[in-house]
């Protein structure tokens, strides 16, 4: 039993309180959102989770997060589908294929993508990218319209403020997150295994497939989950790009989408009473979901063969 001096005991207790504060803050966030959001959930009952329309008082009396959750997941999925392969390619490039002098500059450039504020992404996405993606969206609707996600739902579809464009912009924000984790993981592949693959006559890509990718599987999954968490919570960029549509719909290229976070930001100014409570309830659901995804990501990374030394 270590006997400590009084100043040391105070010091340790101080440090421990700082650590505990993190938990306290998280707990309080959950508590306040839940408590303040409860009136809205009580008002609607279970329908809060199944209703698609968002029509709270004073205008109406029916609201639910079904469409919100739908679009939250859709935009995040689109972002992941684009970002994860690109991130794996970038991580492989930096660790295996690039000339040594290119590695740090390219890593810095990818990290710079993470530093750009999401407001800037949103403004650029709305002003520059969105008009330029109308042509592509129309083409997809016309030639690949047999796929449910591209199938036109009206005779004269409007393209532009869609989940698709939002997903592309969010993918730019997700790439640096996933790349950073996967790159770290790939750099920890045991060199002996890599040598073994080369000594058998393998090419560099053959070695990557036989050794690096299997080793890095946990990091890829964990990194993707971290990226998912980021995409689920993205607010401003999506808000500036999409036009709201309180309806679950498979088509992603047509105008209309409304994930949870952009809705809260958009409606906040004009909401009070039950309407405000509804926003807080939706915020609580978002908080819980992102919390689970992020903690899950940390666990996956830490438990995987590759992850025990990784800082995320």
């Amino acid at each position: 039993m270590v006997v400590r001096t009084r100043p040391d005991r105070i010091f340790r207790r101080l440090a421990a309180s700082a650590g505990a504060l993190t938990l306290v803050i998280l707990f309080l966030i959950g508590l306040f959102l839940c408590v303040k959001g409860l009136p809205a959930i009580k008002d609607q009952g279970w329908a809060f989770f199944t209703t698609q329309v968002w029509n709270p008082p004073p205008r109406g009396n029916e609201f639910g997060i079904a469409a919100l959750m739908w679009w939250t997941i859709v935009v995040a999925l689109i972002a992941l589908v684009i970002a994860v392969p690109i991130s794996i390619a970038a991580a492989l490039f930096v660790t295996e294929f690039a000339p040594r002098r290119m590695r740090r500059p390219l890593t810095s450039l990818i990290d710079l993508l993470a530093a750009v504020p999401s407001l800037i992404y949103g403004m650029w996405g709305a002003a520059y990218l969105r008009p330029r993606m109308v042509g592509l969206s129309a083409w997809l609707g016309k030639y690949l319209g047999f796929l449910p996600i591209f199938k036109p739902t009206t005779a004269f579809p409007i393209y532009g403020p869609s989940a698709f464009v939002a997903g592309v912009v969010v993918s730019l924000m997700v790439v640096p997150i996933v790349t950073s984790v996967v790159r770290e993981v790939f750099s920890q592949v045991p060199p002996g295994e890599k040598e073994g693959a080369f000594a058998l006559g393998g090419t560099r890509w053959g070695m990557v497939r036989a050794v690096v990718l299997p080793f890095g599987r946990g990091g890829i999954v964990g990194g993707s989950m971290l990226g998912l968490g980021r995409a689920l919570g993205e607010t401003i960029a999506i808000l500036l790009i999409v036009s709201p549509l309180f309806q679950i719909r498979l088509n992603i290229i047509e105008a209309g989408a409304i994930p949870v976070a952009p809705l809260i930001a958009n409606n906040f100014g004009e909401s009070s009473g039950i309407a405000l409570s509804a926003l807080l309830a939706a915020g609580f659901v978002l908080f819980v979901v992102t919390l689970l995804v992020n903690v899950g990501a940390s666990t996956v990374i830490a438990r995987s063969r590759s992850g025990s030394g990784v800082e995320i």
Binding site: P7, D8, I10, F11, R12, A15, A16, G19, A20, L21, T22, I25, L26, I29, F32, L33, I86, A89, A90, F93, A98, S108, L109, I110, D111, L113, A115, V116, P117, S118, L119, I120, W124, A127, Y128, R132, G135, W139, T203, R204, W205, G206, G229, L232, G233, T235, I236, L240, A261, A265, L280, G283, L286, F287, T290, L291, N294, V295, S298, E311
Partner: protein, 358 residues
């Protein structure tokens, strides 16, 4: 050094050996790469201009790349076999994709600069939006309120979260109490909290509770977002301090707190500064939480503890949503200034990190 060879009586001229550095690249390979690129370019050109109803450069580049990879794969497979073809093609794809990531970055930086620099004047830094009316020219923008707001809010957030973050890092790395693993999980969890949720929380606790909108409320929300970044970076930094220093100090009889305060923190100083810069860079561009805490303002509010305040990100967002084109153009000026600050912080953090390495 060979003893098999008989010793020669004649002096043999010693030629210095010719170094070889084998590489897997041959001039023949360059021909295949070039040929595939040319063939795919021609094919894409033909399809684009004659047969398919596409326009636009991005589509052209994508189709050229796709055909290039395909033709290259087939060409290498025919001459060197499937294994080499797969290797070369995947290397090409990975290289192109990785370098292409830079393209959106360049587009964004370029676009914001183009649109923002155009209407930026010195008066931006000395006047507020209050002096700007519907008839004012687009070159007249007032960013003083926003700049003051961002500075005060970020400064207060730093005052709150840096000591807390350093202390938490000390707990995780030096004190190593029983709750280290759960604490680490919580810090990770906190870094995933969406910024709007942080804003909502502070709104319900502070703003809606009678205190109203203020820069301080915004700073509180920003601290929630900043704290995990500072904590994690500091933890890494503390871990890099050699154990030998700790042991030496403790062996001399210094108590733990003295060791930490007098030996470890000074050693880690540059790393902690990096953590601060990274934390600031993380929150300086946040908009969503400010919507419901600082609320925004056209006038100059020097008091962060009372009354709504503007911020660079918030003003930019609000102007961007205006129906007047002049306001939208002004939004780009704010965005440009904000982006410049972020870039400066990013470079500063990198340079600081470099210094630590030396």
């Amino acid at each position: 050094m060979r003893t098999d060879a008989p010793k020669l009586a004649v002096v043999v001229e010693h030629r210095s050996p010719v170094k070889i550095r084998p590489s897997s690249f041959h001039p023949r390979d360059a021909a295949v790469v070039g040929g595939a690129a040319a063939a795919s370019l021609a094919l894409t050109w033909l399809l684009y201009s004659q047969i398919l109803p596409f326009h636009g450069l991005p589509g052209f580049l994508l189709m050229w790349a796709a055909f290039d990879f395909l033709i290259y794969y087939v060409a290498v497979r025919e001459t060197q076999g499937r294994v080499v073809a797969r290797d070369r093609t995947m290397a090409a794809i990975i290289t192109v994709v990785s370098i292409a990531i830079v393209i959106p970055l360049v587009l964004i930086l370029g676009y914001v600069t183009l649109k923002g620099l155009r209407f930026l004047r010195l008066a931006f830094f000395t006047t507020t939006m209050a002096s700007v009316g519907p008839e004012s020219p687009t070159t007249q923008t007032g960013g003083l309120g926003a700049i003051v707001g961002t500075l005060e809010q970020v400064a207060i957030a730093m005052v709150i979260s840096v000591p807390l973050g350093v202390l938490t890092a000390i707990y995780l790395n030096e004190v190593k109490g029983r709750l280290v693993r759960p604490t680490r999980i919580f810090v990770d969890a906190m870094s995933g909290v969406p910024s709007i949720v942080a804003g909502l929380f502070i709104y319900t606790v502070i703003v809606a509770n009678g205190h109203g909108f203020s820069g301080f409320a915004a700073a509180l929300a920003l601290s929630i977002l900043m704290l995990p970044t500072v904590t994690r970076t500091c933890e890494v930094v503390l871990r890099l301090v050699p154990d030998g220093l700790r042991e030496a100090s403790l062996a001399m009889g210094a108590p733990e707190w003295r060791t930490t305060w007098g030996v470890i923190l000074p050693t880690a100083r540059t790393g902690i500064i990096t953590a601060m810069i990274l934390g600031v860079a993380r929150v300086v561009g946040e908009t969503a939480p400010l919507i419901m805490t600082a609320f925004g303002s056209a006038t100059l509010n020097l008091n962060p503890f009372s009354g709504p305040q503007a911020a660079l990100s918030l003003s930019s967002f609000q102007l961007f949503g205006s129906s007047q084109t002049a306001d939208v153009q002004r939004a780009w000026v704010f965005a440009f200034v904000l982006l410049s600050i972020v870039l400066i912080l990013f470079v500063a953090a990198r340079l600081q990190g470099e210094r630590r390495r030396r």
